[in-house]
């Protein structure tokens, strides 16, 4: 009975509401975050990830309040990312009830920030989110929601972030995100084999079999998906049944 592979629904939050964009346009309202989180918890989600895509600064306080509301009702791990730039942001999120904080653009701008956050709060709560796009025979790190190229090799970056104290890597394929064509399995496998910490596969899930592929072919420790769960196509419980039938250890 080994450690279970995790299924993580992801909620994009804009000004306190759950939204889901397809290829970063056409943002559809998908509900009240607390209600959605409770629903996923009841369906057997192993963790929940919130990505704050709110641009305005007053939206930050909305996010802290939201995390606090969810943490008072849902007793599974909560990860929050989006706009995390300073130790103070990490502190406020953890204090609001987040268990892990995902750092993305700020890590690229200042890798030392990841080390500081990890030294201060512990590796267990620092997730480094990497948005990768295929370029030539490899993958490159992109920031700003996939718009800005950095010239950094994604796999090297993953290894380096682990040295800086990342406790987990949240790996999103920008080529696949929103396409529903499945994870970039080559990217997932390469990253998973290259780092010593758990890897969460993200970007592209359109079928439950894609989750199975992410674990078995991609070697991921956890799989993250948004739209297939948000609009009632599938429940987390259905996803786990499909994984179980493929011989994957899951928490039921």
């Amino acid at each position: 009975m080994p450690l279970a592979k995790r299924v993580i629904p992801c909620l994009d939050i804009d000004a306190g509401r759950v939204v889901k964009g397809v290829r970063f346009v056409d943002i559809r309202d998908a509900g009240d975050p607390v209600e959605v989180a409770r629903k996923y918890d009841q369906q057997g989600a192993d963790e929940i990830t919130f990505l704050d895509i709110t641009a305005s600064s007053d939206g930050r306080q909305t996010m802290y309040n939201l995390v606090e509301d969810v943490a008072g009702q849902v007793f599974i791990p909560l990860t929050v990312g989006g706009g995390v730039r300073a130790l103070q942001d990490v502190h406020k999120l953890l204090h609001s009830g987040a268990d892990k904080v995902a750092i993305n653009t700020a890590a690229v701008h200042k890798p030392e920030f990841v080390r500081q956050a990890s030294d201060h709060f512990g590796v267990q709560c620092i997730v480094v989110a990497i948005d990768a796009k295929r370029v030539g025979s490899g993958w490159e790190v992109f920031t700003h929601g996939g718009r800005q190229a950095t010239g950094i090799d994604a796999i090297d970056w993953g290894r380096r972030m682990v040295e800086y104290g990342a406790g987990e890597i949240l790996l999103t394929s920008m080529d696949r995100d929103g396409t529903r064509d499945g994870f970039d399995l080559d990217l997932t496998r390469k990253m998973s084999d290259s780092v010593s910490v758990p890897v969460i596969a993200s970007g592209g899930v359109g079928l439950l079999s894609h989750l199975v592929d992410g674990i078995i072919k991609g070697g991921a420790d956890a799989v993250l998906a948004a739209s297939i769960f948000h609009f009632g196509e599938h429940t987390i419980a259905e996803a786990k049944q499909v994984m179980l039938r493929s011989g994957i250890e899951v928490r039921l």
Binding site: M1, L3, A4, R6, F75, P77, G122, P198
Partner: protein
């Protein structure tokens, strides 16, 4: 009115621990998060959670002058340790270059990577490389009955996140084990102290049940 004190060393997500206890407790129970020895001395029950590095934790305990009051409470009140709150009870930890701990329980804390494995960390059965931290939901085998296991099924999954693990030296002080490449102590205790490596505050219904067991536990094993 009964008072539950959650010991605050300034690290980790203590709010969740507080909220989980409040969620299962009736109105007569007050839960406070505190680093003051005066508050702790008045508590009917004590929860010692902890994340991050053990050296920081032990230092914080000393700098807040809490060692004495905690030692008293460890002998007199129902006392729950979570994660570092379990590890800190053993004799020593190899984290942070080697740290002397409270020594309430016999045994030592080692890095997951080192315990029973030379070099690369692989599952001895499947040969699959295992990731560190040990992160996620794993089964806990109850090695002995205990009031804290009430209404929790054998082999129940709980949420873990840690890179170091305890190895109890005295089987009488071990109440549960988990396997991740090799077995380690998932629950340890003696008399009125009970500690778990996993996070009950993050382990959904089974975790809430454990919290419920704690607030009704009379402190005897």
């Amino acid at each position: 009115m009964s008072l539950v004190a959650v010991v605050n060393f300034g690290t980790g997500n203590l709010r969740s621990v507080q909220k989980a206890i409040e969620h299962v407790a009736d109105k007569g129970v007050r839960v406070i998060v505190t680093e003051k020895s005066t508050d702790l001395a008045q508590a009917d029950r004590v929860v010692f959670p902890g994340q991050g590095a053990i050296g920081t934790c032990i230092n914080a305990m000393q700098s807040h002058g809490l060692q004495e009051v905690l030692n008293d409470l460890l002998q007199s009140r129902p006392f729950l340790g979570i994660c570092l709150g379990l590890q800190a009870m053993y004799e020593s930890s190899e984290e942070d270059g080697g740290v002397r701990c409270m020594g309430v329980l016999k045994g030592a804390v080692e890095h997951i990577n080192v315990s029973g494995n030379g070099g690369g960390f692989k599952d001895p059965v499947t040969g699959i490389r295992l990731k560190v931290p040990h992160m996620g939901w794993n089964n806990v085998t109850q090695t002995k009955p205990h009031p804290m296991w009430r209404k929790i099924k054998q082999g129940q999954r709980f949420y873990f996140v840690h890179s170091y693990c305890a190895h109890a030296k005295d089987p009488a002080q071990e109440y549960g084990i988990t396997e991740y490449g090799f077995p380690f102590t998932a629950a340890g205790g003696m008399e009125n102290y009970f500690g778990v490596q996993f996070h009950p505050e993050k382990s959904q219904n089974a975790g809430l049940q454990l919290m419920k067991n704690f607030i009704t536990w009379d402190g005897s094993a």
